[in-house]
Symmetry: C2
Subunit: 221 residues, 2 copies
DNA sequence: ACGACTTTGTGAAGGGAGGCACAAAGTCGC
DNA sequence: GCGACTTTGTGCCTCCCTTCACAAAGTCGT
């Protein structure tokens, strides 16, 4: 289960991947004081088609009113509930290099309810440093963090060489969700979900499209 | 054209998205001195099925030898060519907050042939600072960078409020590929490709799966 | 030189996702 | 209270992606 997980019955993975976008748009609307929104408007704000939006939402239930639209706050809390954001999800970041430090300082986590409860590093020369106001802990602390603070999500920001080892320790400690920034394919047991974010991959995909459009332009200028 | 672009004839988008992974695996194999690899082995190293790998590669051409496998170096350069990595792709990073600085210091870009040629920021108090050995330039320099240095890819690492403005300036200067780290949907003309990377979205998807498996466990302990 | 073996490349089948279009359902004006 | 109007929820259709399975093709041993 690396990228696409089978969702036996319920919400298709493709839908789940779009829900955060809807939630984001709804939060922005609520901030503007808008209380009601149509599928057309919300879809435009989320960058999808209105038909797709309605189908996605229909998987969660019927929270709209025909002829009117959706109540912004109600829909936001329904989506949040579907995503499991009513409980909190303690996060630990492993690897205090450039990326790890930037992630530790990033405010976006807290804003969306993800509490970073620990920063860790394998290198004992880094352990004890203070990053973004938190002490860097050794990997040995992982089991305690899971047991006592309910650590649920691990973010891997190590160099590629150390990523599998870091992942193994997270999994051994009981973490079942991993966000991996290292450019490697992680091997994990069945019950662990991994999502990969790789900058080089994204750039290479952009390069492909850039090249394509350049070719298309040369053919038909 | 925000995430999925129609590829008239040629390589399907889903395949393109996996090519960087194959390239990464091949590079690692080459570094180990391995010169020949079967679809089964390469697929395992890339985290996909062998059938999918073969089909993906078949879109590029027939570079394997039946009964033997693929020549690692040959295949790597064919994939690199397909992705357009034979030419270089100058990159500019816009937004010198935490994330922007981390990206500027990240070595992964250069390793895969993406040259960061400029760091920019809209805030004149930041312009002139030195980050990772490069001076931070004002947004006004964008047209020159495109014209004189062939700037092709823009990375947006600004806060959400400034992302659309930053994108507009990139597009106005002639950039046609954008990697967006801000949590907003960017509006761009038809010919511009945008790829989004959002940490909160990824965490929320992980939360969904985490919640799901927790529920499944409660039902069947 | 030939047969057994290995592995690729691909035709066909199966499944899922997105888009279309419309019926259902509710609101608003009169 | 009723008809016109708006917008949701969904059945259906299409297309693309993934997987299966096998024929084609090349190697290696004898």
């Amino acid at each position: 289960m690396s990228t696409a997980a089978a969702t036996p019955r319920g919400v298709p993975d493709a839908s789940v991947a779009r829900l955060p976008g809807y939630l984001r748009a709804l939060t922005a609307l609520a901030a503007e004081g808008i209380g009601l929104v149509s599928s057309e408007e919300l879809a435009a704000a989320s960058g999808v088609s209105s038909a797709m939006l309605r189908k996605d939402l229909s998987h969660l239930g019927s929270y709209g009113v025909r002829g009117v639209g959706y109540d912004v706050e109600r829909l936001a809390s329904e989506i949040a509930a579907a995503l499991g954001l009513t409980q909190d999800w303690p996060v630990a970041i492993v690897g205090m290099g450039n990326l790890g430090r930037a992630l530790a300082a990033y405010r976006g986590f807290a804003e969306r309810g993800f509490r970073v409860i620990a920063l860790l590093d394998h290198d004992e020369r880094v352990v004890g440093d203070e990053v973004a106001g938190c002490p860097v802990l050794p990997m040995e602390d992982l089991p305690t963090l899971v047991a006592e603070q309910g650590l649920a999500i691990g973010v891997i920001a190590t160099p590629p060489e150390g990523a599998q080892a870091a992942c193994d320790r997270l999994v051994a400690a009981g973490v079942r969700s991993v966000l991996n920034f290292a450019a490697v394919v992680l091997a994990v047991p069945e019950h662990v979900t991994v999502r990969n974010v790789d900058l080089s991959t994204e750039l290479q995909i952009l390069a492909f499209h850039g090249q394509r459009s350049a070719v298309a332009e040369a053919v038909a200028p």
